[in-house]
């Protein structure tokens, strides 16, 4: 931008200032959102001009949008001017031992079967040199580097691989996509970037766990994964340990590009703080996740275990553009107390012979509401498309709700689209049967629920699956009997 243009920008953006000015030296932006805040964020991160432009366009577009209200969720109106959009990553206070950690948190860790070392890592207790996660992460990075795989924070990618970021950023989820996508595009804090070169089979699960400084990516996370032709990667997001955050609103974007013959498996365990028993204080999680199977025979598979957040709004989607490409969505969403989840997927069939499979398992307890919302769309030129959707709901108790909203739009008569839905309750007789064999009600519920969600849990990487099983049980603790 030229000097003149800059001055002009400055001038025209004045009206947003509402009587205060931004201190660019500060660690934290003042509350509220305007163009200066967007500039502030970009400047703080030393971003190139094109990225600032991207943010500003997104911001200006966001101003023209209305907050969506079509999801089956209810929450007090968010005051977007009452949010802090940037604060420098805080250093976690180092503790000397686990004795200094909240005992309740330790109890939860134990129930999840998280190792002592892992507990220390997550609570900021100093760990000894041998298992120091930084050194693990370093070796990890070296191995990946030899294969040409890039796995780093989004900010690092902007610095080190600007051409890649520039090429793909917003290519799957444009900032015009929806309200929260526009917001994220304007103010995203950080996130992850993964790049798998042509023909490379990534030998290990890429997990945010191994990314140094993975903590504190902030409330507007941005993930971009590119799988070049013939490559393979399995990516893990989140962890089973409960995550708290002062920021109530989270609006992330995940974009995935899968080229010809490549395959991406994306697994998520989401366990944000769901609020207390009365539903107070939980996280609002409004996420846009989408991938494109860009080339023929590409495959994208989403697996998610959603147990946290007060309000979840999330539809990991697949654009099946390449011929014979495959999209999958496996989901377990658990809601308890006053949680609300509106989640599902979109399968957009554009290429011929494309296939998709949707398996959604909703589990509702307490006073919670759990909705599946899914779109299967078959375009005119997409010959011989096949889709199978299975949407099951399991109810624990009679104060919760389960809803299914399948949308099917078929524009080509050769398509075979199947949808099955069931709703069931955990039966008193199932619980009694377990009890009669000596199994207490808590464990009975865990067994039954894990059995119900098995098809999805089986899709998770092994270690993750075991933790996820425990997490389901923990989320539903005390919900029956």
């Amino acid at each position: 931008m030229s000097k003149d243009a800059e001055i002009l920008e400055e001038f025209t953006s004045k009206e947003y200032e509402h009587g205060w000015s931004v201190d660019f030296e500060a660690d934290e932006a003042p509350k509220g959102l305007n163009e200066d805040i967007v500039r502030f964020i970009s400047a703080k991160k030393n971003e190139p001009e094109w990225l600032l432009e991207f943010r500003l366009k997104a911001f200006r577009h966001w101003l023209t949008l209305e907050e969506p209200d079509w999801a089956a969720v209810n929450y007090p109106k968010i005051n977007f001017q009452d949010i802090i959009y940037y604060s420098a990553p805080k250093k976690q206070k180092k503790l000397d031992s686990l004795d200094e950690v909240d005992p309740e948190l330790i109890e939860t860790f134990k129930k999840l079967g998280i190792s002592i070392e892992e507990q220390k890592r997550m609570t900021g207790v100093a760990v000894d040199a041998v298992i120091d996660s930084v050194s693990v992460a370093t070796t990890f990075k070296e191995t990946l580097g030899e294969l040409g795989i890039i796995f780093c924070s989004f900010s690092e990618a902007v610095k080190d691989h600007p051409e890649l970021v520039k090429k793909y950023l917003g290519s799957v989820v444009p900032y015009t996509d929806n309200y929260y996508a526009a917001l994220n595009s304007a103010v995203f804090s950080d996130g992850s970037f993964g790049y798998i070169p042509k023909g490379v089979h990534c030998p290990m699960e890429l997990s945010t766990y191994f990314r140094i400084n993975a903590a504190n990516t902030g409330q507007f996370e941005r993930t971009l994964i590119v799988a070049e032709p013939g490559s393979y990667v399995s990516y893990l997001e989140g962890c089973t340990a409960p995550q708290r955050d002062e920021n109530q609103l989270h609006a992330a974007i995940v974009e995935i590009i899968v080229e010809t013959d490549a395959e991406v498996k994306y697994s998520t365990v989401q366990n944000w703080y769901p609020g207390d028993k009365n539903g107070k204080g939980g996280i609002y999680n409004f996420v846009t996740k989408r991938g494109i199977c860009n080339g023929d025979h590409a495959k994208l598979s989403w697996t998610q275990v959603e147990t946290g957040s007060a309000v979840t709004w999330k539809y990991p989607s697949c654009i099946l553009k390449g011929d014979y490409s495959v999209g999958e969505f496996y989901s377990v969403a658990v809601t308890n107390n006053y949680q609300q989840a509106d989640t599902g997927t979109k399968m957009i069939h554009i290429g011929k012979g494309t296939k998709s499979r949707i398996v959604s398992k909703g589990i509702s307890a307490g006073h919670s509401q759990n909705s599946y919302r899914g779109l299967v769309q078959v375009h005119k030129r997409a010959e011989n498309v096949r889709n199978f959707s299975q949407c099951d709901s399991l109810l624990l108790g009679d104060k919760c709700g389960a809803h299914t909203f399948p949308y099917i739009e078929v524009d080509n008569s050769s398509a075979q689209v199947e949808h099955e839905a069931t709703t069931s309750k955990i039966g008193e007789d199932q619980i009694f049967y377990c009890n009669q064999r000596g199994i207490d009600t808590e464990e009975a519920v865990a067994l039954i629920v894990n059995g119900y969600a098995k098809e999805v849990l089986n899709k998770l990487p092994m270690e993750f699956a075991v933790e996820a099983q425990k997490l389901l049980a923990l989320t539903l603790e005390g919900s029956v009997g």
Binding site: Q430, C434, Q436, R437, I439, D440, L447
Partner: protein, 251 residues
């Protein structure tokens, strides 16, 4: 082992058990027979602690303790086992996983350490032989899509795994072909010892040729109206229940 005194129980305000008296000692086998709807399954459910039923009066002692203070799982861990007339399906949970949870909770209660995977599988292999059950069946979802006979055999397999003190078999013979009946009966006899006891609920004298009862009781209209030996079962087979009903028309 079990002392039931004047037990009355109801469901949804309807009295089903109208004063049951029954005493079972270690080493004994009792058979309970009786027409449909007389309260046999209700009695077993009340003994096992099913909460839908209200106990109106009477007492039940199991191993010298009042049973009404304990939850169904506590009773089970103490050694009360019920083979269900209609075993329940649990999708996605294999018999193996189900039993691992059960066995370990029961063992914990008895102060025994958990069985690790190897020990557990070894025990399973042994017990599988007792009822000649196929391992493939145990890997499938519990009771889901099992044939009637497979479900019953699986109940006895579970009994073998849990080593109960008192087993109540509610019409375990119904739905078994004659070979399966012999196998299951043989299994029950193998598990029999001087310290445990069995109550078999059945409609058919046939089973009692294989599992020889010490006592045969007739439950009619919520009461045990007749008690005898094996001979009583023959008599019922021959004459049906009309004569009993007639004798107790005013009961």
């Amino acid at each position: 082992m079990l002392k039931v005194k004047n037990l009355k129980a109801s469901i949804e305000g309807k009295e089903i058990l109208k004063g049951i008296n029954l005493e079972v000692k270690p080493g004994e086998v009792h058979a309970i027979m009786g027409p449909n709807g007389s309260g046999k399954s209700t009695l077993s459910a009340v003994l096992a602690g099913r909460e839908e039923y209200t106990v109106d009066s009477g007492s039940v002692e199991f191993l010298g303790k009042n049973i009404f203070g304990s939850s169904p799982e506590e009773r089970a861990r103490e050694g009360l086992f019920l083979a269900f007339q209609y075993p329940i399906e649990i999708p996605g949970v294999s018999t193996t996983n189900f039993l691992r949870a059960a066995v370990n909770q029961v063992r914990a209660h008895r102060g025994l350490p958990k069985l690790d995977a190897v020990q557990f599988l070894k025990t399973m292999k042994e017990k599988m032989q007792i009822v000649d059950i196929d391992q493939a069946l145990l890997k499938r979802s519990l009771n889901e899509g099992f044939s009637g006979g497979e479900k019953k055999r699986n109940e006895i397999f579970q009994m073998a795994m849990l080593e109960p003190k008192l087993s109540i078999l509610d019409e375990t013979d119904s739905g078994l072909d004659i070979d399966a009946l012999k196998i299951v009966a043989n299994g029950v006899n193998t598990l029999k010892s001087a310290d445990n006891a069995t109550i078999v609920i059945t409609h058919y004298q046939r089973l009692l040729d294989f599992i020889i009862p010490d006592f045969v009781h007739v439950l009619y209209n919520g009461k045990i109206v007749k008690t005898g030996t094996k001979e009583l079962a023959y008599e019922l087979e021959e004459r049906g229940y009309d004569w009993i009903k007639a004798e107790h028309a005013n009961a």
